[in-house]
């Protein structure tokens, strides 16, 4: 395999990047990020409505379903800016849910749900289980046929933004085969959701008990496409997460540089010490390399084989780069770095979160070994 992905950048990506940069900077200043961390919902619904009005939810939805007809590559620059400014909200979840329906849904489901999502209706995915596996096909939750429809059982974890979602798409086994089912908000029993305590406080995540939930037969996605849909979600999630990581890495580097340029010790600006300078450069070059891989993954995403390689490479490098930059950010702020008030912890926590979801650097390298060696 010698095509590992190529760089490309569309005009639409450029335009969206400009708009997203301004939007995220203005809508998500640090005081607001901090305030939303304390808020139960965790995001500003008005900002969400504005994002919907900008058409961001419709980007990767085909025109036939009232979308803009662009691709996942065009979501990347937006996600990048969201990660950079910690703009909270169910954008990641909803974008992924749309992809799940697009690849795994029946024609009727596409016609029903995709236009709604394009208009800003929140949706999310329930894929993870108690095992903690990154392999999305390792499913134990079940859906059994009954007279009322499909009776669900089992538990799901790391269901992002579930409290805000109008639909949850859960992976289950039907007759021992992987399947996806749509659960409408109204079908959730009162205590089905439990908010999880997660490392990244700018995000919301829930455990979901499926026991006692029954959905109509029409809620079952196309079983013939289930595995393809899960594979697609896995790569999409990693691509979008890599975009968020790159944005976060950029900002944690800038945040730290500001400190290195102003803090003085021993009569010198601490940024003049090579013990801080050189690792800062390593953080920076690690970031640039991740970002080059990110935009190559976005550009190559739809190419059979290459898209997967490029995406896994990007996530592997981005994970490493973010962890390093944020880890050094804490250290380089000294005692202040150890405080809750210092933003370095937000980035480090965010990096840990991203590594934990959909596969970390080592996991993707292991997959790559089988793909490229």
């Amino acid at each position: 395999m010698d095509n590992l992905g190529q760089l490309g950048f569309s005009e639409a990506q450029g335009d969206l990047m400009e708009v997203a940069k301004r939007f995220c900077r203005e809508q998500s200043p640090m005081q607001k990020v901090r305030a939303l961390m304390e808020d139960d919902l965790g995001h500003d619904p008005d900002v969400w409505d504005e994002m919907a009005a900008l058409g961001w939810l419709s980007i990767a939805i085909p025109e036939a379903y009232e979308g803009a007809g662009l691709g996942v590559a065009e979501i990347v620059p937006i996600m990048e800016q969201m990660g950079r400014y910690f703009l909270a909200g169910p954008f990641f979840s909803t974008s992924l849910a749309a992809q799940a329906i697009l690849v795994g849904g029946t024609e009727a489901q596409k016609q029903d749900y995709l236009p709604k999502i394009a208009g800003g209706s929140v949706a999310t995915l329930a894929l993870s289980e108690q095992s903690g596996n990154w392999d999305l096909t390792a499913i134990t939750a079940r859906a059994s046929h009954t007279d009322q429809g499909l009776a669900l059982s089992g538990e799901k974890f790391f269901v992002r933004d579930a409290a805000a979602a109008n639909w949850i798409i859960a992976s289950v086994l039907v007759d021992d085969k992987p399947a996806l089912v749509l659960i409408a908000k109204d079908d959730l029993p009162k205590d089905a959701l439990r908010r999880e305590v997660i490392i990244d406080e700018t995000k919301r995540s829930f455990a979901l008990t499926l026991d006692g939930i029954t959905v109509p037969k029409s809620a079952l996605l196309d079983m013939a496409q289930a595995e393809a849909a899960l594979a697609h979600i896995h790569l999409c999630a990693n691509l979008l997460s890599t975009a968020e990581i790159c944005g976060g890495t950029q900002n944690v580097i800038d945040y730290t540089l500001d400190y290195l340029r102003t803090r003085k010790q021993f009569g010198r600006t601490i940024g003049s010490y090579q013990a801080l300078k050189h690792p800062s450069v390593d953080a920076y070059t690690g970031y640039e390399r991740a970002r080059s891989l990110l935009y190559s993954a976005a550009h190559s995403f739809n190419e059979q084989g290459t898209g997967e390689i490029a995406t896994r490479m990007a996530k592997a490098q981005a994970d490493k780069a973010y962890a390093y930059a944020a880890d050094r950010a804490i250290q380089f702020h000294g005692g202040f770095g150890f405080t809750y008030e210092c933003d370095a912890q937000l980035y480090r926590r965010s990096a840990i979160w991203h590594a934990s979801q959909y596969g970390d650097a080592a996991y993707h390298r292991k997959k790559l070994a089988d793909l490229i060696l």
């Binding site: 010698d2 590992l4 992905g5 190529q6 760089l7 950048f9 990506q13 450029g14 990047m17 950029q250 580097i253 540089l257 290195l260 340029r261 010198r268 600006t269 940024g271 003049s272 090579q274 300078k277 050189h278 800062s280 450069v281 390593d282 920076y284 070059t285 640039e288 390399r289 991740a290 970002r291 080059s292 891989l293 935009y295 190559s296 490479m313 592997a316 490098q317 080592a362 390298r365 292991k366 790559l368 070994a369 490229i372 060696l373």
Partner: protein, 409 residues
């Protein structure tokens, strides 16, 4: 008439296409894949007369065929064509894994400098010899006591009529023993208000009384650079580039040519690009305790890490063409390239040795050495690039200060 290096004009796509095809056929027919001895991968590695003679002939042959200096002005000995033609020829060289161009300092530094700030006489005198490899050039910047702190260079140049008299010494002079000329940074005014202002830049002949070169043996066991001694050596004053006291600015300008920003490129390459995939082939053919190295999960992971790094560096190079992706730190990637690539090359060669088991202990010359000892020698030679041309530590300083905006002190 003096040109600024690149002849402007319309490129006829059909002519260009034909030229590219001819170049491709020429290199296919003329590249000798096995001259019977190990060829240097970089111009800094030329260590034996055999290598030197071979590469000099090769450069000359490429030039005579019209595939070097194709975009330099014809009245100086170039081809007078658009840069696109030279680029097509260089692509063909790469495709056919042609050996490197020997006269690196001449092609990449001196030539572009002459066409930028030299006189017409300078160009007429030197360009053709640079292209044909008739006149080998070397670079006299570093001194025994002043390396990274290049601005502190102390070799003295004193004006005497139409001449300057040189006293002092330069060191680590690549191809110093072969060179006919040197680009030289010397101190003309020891009392200047700061160390930089006392420097001047010269084109200095080497084969004159008072200039003596002493070969230095490299860590590989081979030769390739020299210490160069100047004792009352007299060089013509018309070799002064820029004005007296402008040596530092001129030296910094040469760095821009090296990066290909200005002046047009002579073409060819002076370093063979590193092929990261070759390490995979190596791992495929080697065994470890009776099983292919490729089956060892630890080695597999390390290999994948290198492949990711190689790919990311390739993409970073390509990113230059996408302005919106470089908006916030426009020079960041350009200034980081040397550090990233040279450190990568050093580490991947080092890794390749560890793949070899006991055979990692062989060196060039032993019949059992893996790939004739290429990797071990490659690792040792890789330091030429992490030290030469500004050390990796200095590169870190440059990026920290010029890209990240951290204070010098």
């Amino acid at each position: 008439m003096k040109h600024d290096g690149v002849l402007m004009g319309k490129v006829n796509p059909q002519e260009l296409d034909e030229f590219a095809k001819e170049a491709d056929a020429w290199f296919a027919a003329n590249v000798n894949p096995d001259p019977g001895f190990m060829l240097p991968l970089t111009f800094m590695e030329v260590g034996t007369d055999q290598q030197f003679d071979f590469l000099r002939d090769w450069q000359n042959k490429v030039y005579e065929a019209g595939y070097l200096g194709a975009a330099w002005p014809s009245e100086y000995g170039g081809g007078g064509l658009d840069q696109a033609f030279q680029d097509a020829a260089t692509d063909a060289m790469r495709r056919h894994h042609a050996p490197i161009m020997l006269n690196a300092i001449g092609l990449n530094w001196t030539g572009p400098l002459l066409m930028d700030i030299g006189t017409e006489a300078h160009c007429k005198k030197h360009i053709k010899g640079i292209l044909s490899a008739e006149d080998i050039w070397c670079q006299g910047f570093s001194e025994p006591d002043n390396g990274s702190d290049l601005g502190n260079a102390q070799l003295r140049a004193v004006r005497d009529g139409d001449e300057y008299v040189l006293n002092g010494s330069k060191i680590w002079t690549t191809q110093g023993n072969y060179a006919k000329y040197m680009i030289l940074l010397a101190r003309t005014n020891p009392d200047a208000p700061n160390k930089y202002a006392g420097l001047s830049f010269f084109l200095a002949p080497m084969k004159i009384p008072g200039v003596e070169t002493r070969p230095i043996r490299k860590l590989t066991g081979e030769y390739g650079f020299t210490q160069t001694f100047f004792t009352d050596a007299r060089i013509p004053a018309d070799g002064l580039m820029g004005k007296e006291g402008e040596g530092w600015q001129v030296a910094m300008k040469t760095l821009e040519y090296e990066r290909g920003v200005h002046g047009g490129q002579a073409g060819g390459y002076v370093l063979l690009p590193l092929d990261a995939f070759a390490v995979i082939d190596l791992a495929r053919k080697l065994q470890r305790d009776g099983a292919p190295v490729m089956d060892d999960p630890v080695m597999r992971d390390a290999l994948v890490e290198f492949m990711i790094e190689a790919q990311s560096l390739k993409l970073c190079q390509a990113r230059g063409a996408f302005a919106p992706l470089n908006e916030e730190r426009p020079f960041g990637l350009a200034l980081s390239g040397k550090l990233m690539w040279t450190e990568f090359a050093r580490r991947i060669n080092e890794f390749a040795i560890t793949l070899q088991g006991t055979k990692g202990g062989y060196y060039v010359g032993d019949p059992n050495a893996v790939d004739h000892g290429l990797w071990t020698r490659g690792y040792l030679n890789a330091f030429s690039a992490t030290i030469g041309g500004g050390t990796s530590e200095i590169q870190h300083n440059i990026i920290a200060e010029h890209v990240l905006g951290l204070p010098k002190r």
